[in-house]
């Protein structure tokens, strides 16, 4: 019985972390798949979202759920401005320029947050209903982790339905698979991309808020987790929602387990596995070969 509880502990903790990874990274995967744009500033949008959400709660007394909605809307709006004014100039530019531009943007975001809010870690106080433990029959577990898993599953289902069952989803899938063909069929890629970018950044904001409790929220956030988000996207495959979902859960559970049993060098395995995987399948575990 102890053994079962141990494994359940590991799985639940890892899944909760994986859900946050998924919510943050899914937008990055789709926008990278759509435009081939190397967006290293994606974590910055997650950070800004997290700050908006936590500040709305701490300073304005907004409840958790409406604060999440505010974070989503604010970040989506900001990202549209960035996308139209700046990102769109670099779609056809070499990768290096995209890398430089987005690294620059990350620095500006870090400095901006430090100037406006301050360099300290911003604490998130969960609403009382989500604190404490919940009974799962054979064991009890942190309520918030269970909430996160539930939210993640619901979002995954919603995104999947939107992706597979709506006209827009079909357009995105078409554009990811073959952009030129999609364009010549009359799909307005530019508009599609703006909408996807805004939605993806909004999702990242939600992830920033939902994950603030255990990822922490400080100005260095976008650099601290940059590699993690990129690994998820690379493992999951570009532009694949289901791929990113499985990759997030996989890496979430792996990371959680390794941190517990090998606190010294667990990350080595994640880097090593990612290298081996990318050499074996450059398109990622769930991506389709180019």
């Amino acid at each position: 019985m102890n053994f079962v509880v141990e494994i359940a502990n590991m799985l639940l903790g890892g899944l909760a972390a994986g859900m946050v990874l998924f919510i943050v990274s899914v937008g990055l995967s789709v926008t990278m798949g759509l435009m081939g744009f190397v967006n290293l500033a994606h974590g910055g949008f997650a950070m800004i979202g997290g700050y908006v959400i936590v500040l709305a709660m701490n300073r304005l007394g907004v409840p958790f759920a409406p604060a999440l909605a505010i974070g989503f809307i604010v970040v989506a709006a900001i990202s549209v401005v960035f996308e139209r004014l700046l990102y769109s100039r670099l779609y056809r530019a070499p990768e290096l320029d995209q890398v430089l531009f987005t690294i620059g943007l990350v620095f500006v975001m870090i400095a901006g947050v430090t100037l406006v809010v301050g360099p300290e870690t911003l604490p998130l106080t969960l609403p009382p209903s989500m604190q404490g433990q919940i009974s799962l029959g054979f064991m009890s577990y942190r309520t918030y982790s269970i909430v996160l898993i539930g939210v993640g599953v619901v979002m995954m289902l919603g995104l999947w339905l939107g992706f597979e069952r709506t006209r827009m989803g079909a357009q995105i899938r078409a554009a990811v698979d073959n952009r030129r063909m999609a364009e010549s069929l009359g799909i307005n890629i530019t508009q599609l991309f703006t909408i996807t970018f805004a939605f993806g950044s909004g999702m990242a904001a939600l992830g920033g808020g939902l994950g603030a409790e255990f990822l922490g929220l400080d100005p260095q956030y976008p650099l601290k987790y940059l590699v993690m988000f990129l690994i998820v996207v690379a493992v999951g495959g570009l532009g694949r929602i289901t791929g990113v979902f499985y990759a997030s859960l996989l890496i979430g559970v792996l990371d959680f387990t390794l941190k517990k049993y090998l606190p010294q060098g667990g990350t080595v395995f994640i880097y090593g596995l990612t290298i081996l995987l990318l050499l074996w399948r450059p398109q990622g575990l769930f991506g389709r070969a180019a």
Binding site: F101, G104, L105, V106, V108, I110, I231, G265
Partner: protein, 341 residues
């Protein structure tokens, strides 16, 4: 097609035939570096750091600017060199500095060769990720193997023998370090300069500009890239080794994303693929950083970010690219119609 002799009247052929020759102004940076030694004895520590950054940036220029290998993990090789010197010195196995550099270059070059062999099969985002992960792997390994690497704290007070058995490294008065690093930089620079003007260097530029065509003309593209990556790694390793010797310590910062991003910024700021971009970029970056980053860290980061965005959007050639643009415009105004720069 006929082969044009060097002293032909065709200005384009002439420009191509003589472009590898040394020009008078190429002695200037070295004279200035010597002048710096006498003029600012109190800033020699800063000067040593600057020279090491230049060497590191030049090594990246070879891979990124000439061969077009977009990497975010070049600090892996800087760190490999630094840790090689650090570990050998700490265990008192090898403390002689110059042969230490050779060992460090060999180790870093071997790491570059091994990782290049597998990494350079990929391009684009995958390559970017793989370089990042390789660096992360080395960083975590160095963190884990605390017995030999000192883990998070690193290795300090490394015993390094005097250069040529005469000139001692003194951490408080880094005169020896400065001249030693300057000498190594000069030798490495001349080597890289020779390399990029050689047929090998030209084939790298060809691969950068049009990989498909280089395949078509029968160039061994992958092998060229791997060799270039290994050489670049070896030079980065020398830079790291110099860093460890000059500071007499080594810690995890030599392997971090920070260092890899900084050297990329330095190179792009100066202008990549231009040989002198690393020098100009390192001077501009280090001087600005030295005076601004400690006094106004946030404003420095904000300014750096805006600068990077501006370079990516408007000035892809960096500082040297802007200078080129200006001189071209100036020349065109003077003699309208003469197309060649």
């Amino acid at each position: 097609m006929s082969i044009v002799p060097v002293n032909s009247d065709n200005p384009a052929a002439h420009a191509l035939a003589v472009r590898h020759r040394f020009r008078w102004w190429e002695a200037l940076p070295w004279l200035l570096a010597l002048a710096f030694y006498f003029a600012f004895p109190r800033y020699l520590g800063f000067g040593t750091e600057l020279l090491i950054t230049i060497l590191f940036a030049i090594s990246l220029d070879l891979a990124l600017g000439y061969a077009g290998i977009v990497t975010l993990g070049h600090a892996a090789f800087f760190g490999a060199g630094a840790y090689t010197v650090g570990m050998l010195a700490k265990q008192e196995i090898w403390t002689e500095p110059i042969s230490g550099l050779v060992i460090a270059a060999a180790v870093a070059g071997a790491v570059g060769f091994a990782s290049g062999l597998v990494l350079l099969r990929t391009t684009g985002l995958t390559l970017l990720m793989l370089t990042l992960c390789t660096m992360g792997l080395l960083e975590e390994t160095a963190n884990m193997a605390a017995d030999v690497t000192g883990g998070f704290d690193g290795l300090d007070s490394l015993p390094i023998k005097p250069v040529f058995g005469i000139f001692e490294f003194n951490p408080l008065y880094p005169n020896t370090q400065y001249l030693y690093v300057l000498g190594v930089l000069l030798v490495s620079f001349v080597f890289v300069r020779m390399l990029v003007y050689s047929p090998f260097g030209h084939s790298l530029t060809g691969i950068r500009e049009n990989t498909l065509r280089m395949h078509a003309v029968g160039a061994p593209v992958r092998m060229r890239l791997i060799v270039c990556y290994s050489i670049s790694a070896a030079i980065a390793g020398i830079a790291g080794a110099l860093w460890a010797q000059a500071n007499a310590y080594v810690n995890l910062s030599v392997l971090g994303l920070d260092r890899a991003a900084t050297v990329l910024i330095v190179l792009v700021l100066g202008g990549y693929g231009r040989l002198y971009g690393g020098i100009i970029g390192a001077i501009a970056y280090m001087v600005l950083s030295h005076f601004l980053s400690k006094a106004y860290p946030t404003a420095w980061q904000l300014g750096l970010g805006l600068l990077l965005m501006a370079i990516a959007l408007f000035a892809r050639g960096g500082i040297l690219g802007m200078v080129d643009d200006l001189t071209r415009r100036f020349k065109e105004r003077k003699a309208p119609g003469s197309g060649l720069p």
